[in-house]
Symmetry: C2
Subunit: 197 residues, 2 copies
């Protein structure tokens, strides 16, 4: 939805906000960002949200790591965001598409064990049969070690944060192989006093 010229592009992006429900929200946000290596993604932050863009794997790696490092403080922390790929308004102008496959935050993320609840929705754009693409991926997501349930307008995932992001990543990836422009919204919540499971 920006003013760049249109054209095919496989740059992925995520616009997200981290919400620590704590007076220490600034410290928690800055602490999480400090622990995460964002050098393989384009990044821009303002008072409403953060946007990271680059290769899909790095976009998920960075987003997941920021949430994990905030959640491990034990505070009630949530994150809402939208992943997208193939947006006709996006471009590959930035050099970040040349980065190698190696995920910079995977090792530190793997060391953090953190339960969470998440709701996500996949939106394949520009296709009349988009609901078929959605239903196909929902079937797939039942096999990934997270508890899957259905809510209005969304699919709920409960489990370890890393497994939740893996399920979202695989769902997003499988739909984007068939549909050029895909967006995926999510809200993930950890350490909620109303969900101590």
């Amino acid at each position: 939805m920006n003013n760049n010229s249109c054209g095919p592009s496989r740059i992925a992006g995520c616009q997200f906000t981290l919400f620590p429900m704590s007076e220490k929200f600034v410290d928690i946000i800055l602490g999480a960002i400090e622990e995460v290596d964002t050098s393989k993604v384009w990044k821009d932050t303002d008072d409403v949200s953060t946007c990271v863009r680059g290769r899909m794997g790095h976009v998920f790696d960075v987003t997941k790591a920021i949430f994990l490092h905030a959640a491990k403080t034990g505070e009630h922390v949530a994150m809402s965001g939208t992943f997208s790929i193939g947006c006709p308004g996006d471009t590959e102008a930035d050099s970040y598409m040349d980065e190698s496959d190696q995920l910079l935050n995977e090792e530190k993320s793997q060391a953090i064990s953190q339960q969470a609840g998440c709701k996500f929705s996949l939106y394949p754009m520009g296709r009349e049969d988009y609901m078929d693409a959605i239903y196909e991926q929902i079937d797939l997501s039942k096999h990934r070690g997270v508890e899957v349930s259905h809510a209005h307008y969304a699919t709920r995932l409960d489990g370890d944060v890393k497994d939740i992001f893996e399920a979202m990543h695989q769902s997003f990836d499988s739909v984007q192989e068939k549909v050029s422009h895909v967006t995926m919204t999510f809200t993930i919540s950890a350490n909620s006093p109303s969900n101590q499971s």
Copy 2:
């Protein structure tokens, strides 16, 4: 994305989460909900998000009012959510579609003056020319008393919370007149220490 049968429906809905960046987040959330009359919408809340469904006007009335009553505490408060209408998985089964036009929270909302920043994105579903629908509405939104700017994957609105929701409501409404299934994501933030304008 639930398992209900498909079919045309003009029930609108919003799945949102309120995020007070404060230890008092529970009190702020419950206090806001207590001040808002939700009797004209179907409502369901869990530890991740709240879903309200019903006629479009009431869905916006309730969502806006909950954010306003939380933000007037002066704490840094944000809300992320997704409005939708015409979702093939949604149904008009609930009786809330028979409610009258009168908005139950408009008077109290009008009394609250609160600045905020917001990013939103409109997604007309199932149409190959969806980008045209998006660009048309972006042009419109320049005339509604809010400052409009463009961000990656989103349009930014700055101004009074009521004007921001009015701009989003009008944009959503104008697109849903042309496209059956429309979703609109948003994140709105007030009293941020990094945006004291």
